[in-house]
Amino acid sequence: MKRMYKNISLFSVINGTVLLLLALSCLLPILNVLAISFSDRGAVASGKVGFWPVDFTLAAYEYVLKDVAFFKSMLVSFARILVGPVLNLLLTILCAYPLSKPDSRFRARKIYVWIFYFTTLFGGGMIPTYIIVSKTGLIDSFWSMILPGAVPVGYVIMMMNFFRNLPRELEEAAWVDGATQWQILWKIYIPLSKASIATISLFCLINHWNSWFDGMLYFNNTEGQPMATYLHNLVVNTSLDAMKSTDFETLQQLSQLSTQTTQAAQLFLAMLPILVIYPFMRKYFAQGVVMGSVKG
């Protein structure tokens, strides 16, 4: 009996250690970037920096905060996460509520559901979408990043499934009292779905913060591009520079010349908002997954 207990605890120790190492593998790359951003350029280039800054300096951040292009892209990103998720949420709720009604109450429901749902199965693809965005006059416009994806259909279906699981009696009682559909949505459904709404808002916010492709595709010049696109340009250019030569010495020189520390500082600043809201999201993201799998 005693021996078995010992075996189990040995297993637990190994299991815990292995999983903890796995968890560290998710944390260490971020710490590495953080350490590089606070280190001296020379120390970085010679590969001395691991997970703790070497020759601590704020030079990279001072440089980055003076960089007007980066700063502007940051403002665009903040504007985007203010406007984008609000519109996403508004349209998600407005679409999900009628679609959550039974077929008998809303006869056209099935047709509408399929119209929305089909967009998750098939799409026009990059070039036809680009042409429509261009025809609607959104090239080089802030709204090119907001309108084309304004209805997040996946979240509409999630919200619809959630609404359908709310007790019908509440709604029926409200009718008897003479409430309109708008009042029922606003006064009964929304207050009951605060957690789901919070989940969807946070996911939309992160999606908007992270999106870079629309900012690249729909803008002819870097003016007006969000930070994610700015960083994409930066990352691709530096990695291209480094990859153009296989010669080890040239590479060494290049990385000394390159602004690895400032890039690290920019990467860290781009991560910061997500790292800040992440702890608050923890209780929601499990719900996000589970909500998506709820059956209608």
Partner: protein
């Protein structure tokens, strides 16, 4: 039944459906313009599309662009890369989260398992732009941490993002790494729904930890694993544009060029709009068929419906 309809008619005025239609109008407009108009725009795949002439006055060329695709030099390589990377991402993206969830479930210390779960979910929420920047740094052959460690053990520095024999697996492993934590949540949720009495019964029958996994935990989550597996079938041609576009370079086109990056370069860099749209259309159609097969299987054998 009759009484119900009569009731419905009585309340008809207040229960009318007009508000529902009104609520749907804004969302419907967005979807019609930005999702359905581009689908109509796919007619350009059968034209020699010129922006100045538009969809209606460009010249019709039938299946020219589709024929061209199959004769395009090096196209087998691109299709192979796409399927190779996508299939291994699908398999490992299914197996690794399940294994991780099984082992995490065995940790009884709530604080420790909570910490591990929180940290491993984090990469899922970071974009490939940021992670791309990070990986270019830590995988750098000259001063990246990973190669520092390899050299510490006496190995030669590896060119993860510049060597054709390493690039595809660098993509597969970093993608699995990004998603395994978040992917395991759904299995952990399924595990917490398993009736604890089943474990007690297994213990009474003399089943140890390992036997409990095989006879209680695994059967308990298997339906969910099946559903997730068949639902991911639609991604058979999605090798991960966001990731590869941020990490590839001409040196690894041979092993890392995929359909999506090919479509992008054709359409944007080379302005071959119709050809690009044709390749995109074929990819979307195959994806559509695979998704429908997946949903059918999930519905039939996994008792799962999207709505």
């Amino acid at each position: 039944m009759k009484k119900l309809t009569a009731d419905g008619q009585k309340r008809g005025k207040r229960m009318q459906q007009l508000p529902f239609h009104l609520m749907l109008i804004p969302g419907l407009l967005v979807v019609l313009i930005y999702n359905y108009a581009p689908m109509f725009g796919l007619v350009m795949a059968f034209q020699d599309f010129r922006p100045a002439r538009g969809f209606f006055r460009s010249e019709w060329v039938g299946l020219k662009h589709f024929e061209r695709f199959f004769q395009y030099p090096g196209i087998e390589k691109i299709v192979f890369n796409t399927v190779y990377i996508a299939v291994f991402k699908l398999i490992l993206g299914l197996v690794v989260p399940v294994l991780f969830a099984l082992f995490l479930h065995m940790i009884k210390n709530k604080l420790l398992s909570g910490f591990i779960q929180t940290v491993t979910c984090l990469p899922y929420f970071l974009s490939w732009v940021i992670l791309g920047g990070i990986f270019v740094n830590i995988l750098s052959p000259s001063n990246g941490v990973v190669n520092q460690i390899i050299q510490l053990f006496g190995g030669e520095p590896l060119y993860f993002l510049g060597d054709n024999s390493l690039f595809p697996w660098t993509m597969i492993i970093t993608d699995v790494w990004k998603n395994f934590g978040y992917g395991s949540i759904i299995y952990l949720a399924a595990m917490s729904n398993i009736d604890p009495e089943l474990y007690d019964a297994a213990k009474v029958d003399g089943a140890g930890k390992i036997k409990q996994i095989f006879h209680v935990t695994l059967p308990g989550i298997l339906p969910m694993v099946f559903v997730m597996g068949v639902l991911s079938l639609g991604g058979i041609l999605n090798a991960g544009f966001d990731q590869i576009f941020n990490l590839y370079n001409p040196q690894v086109y041979e092993s890392g060029d995929i359909l999506d990056t090919f479509i992008y370069r054709l359409g944007i860099d080379n302005a071959q709009y119709s050809f690009s749209a044709a390749v995109g259309l074929m990819k979307s159609l195959i994806g559509l068929v695979m998704i429908l097969i997946g949903y059918k299987l999930a519905d039939k054998y996994g008792d799962y419906r999207v709505f």
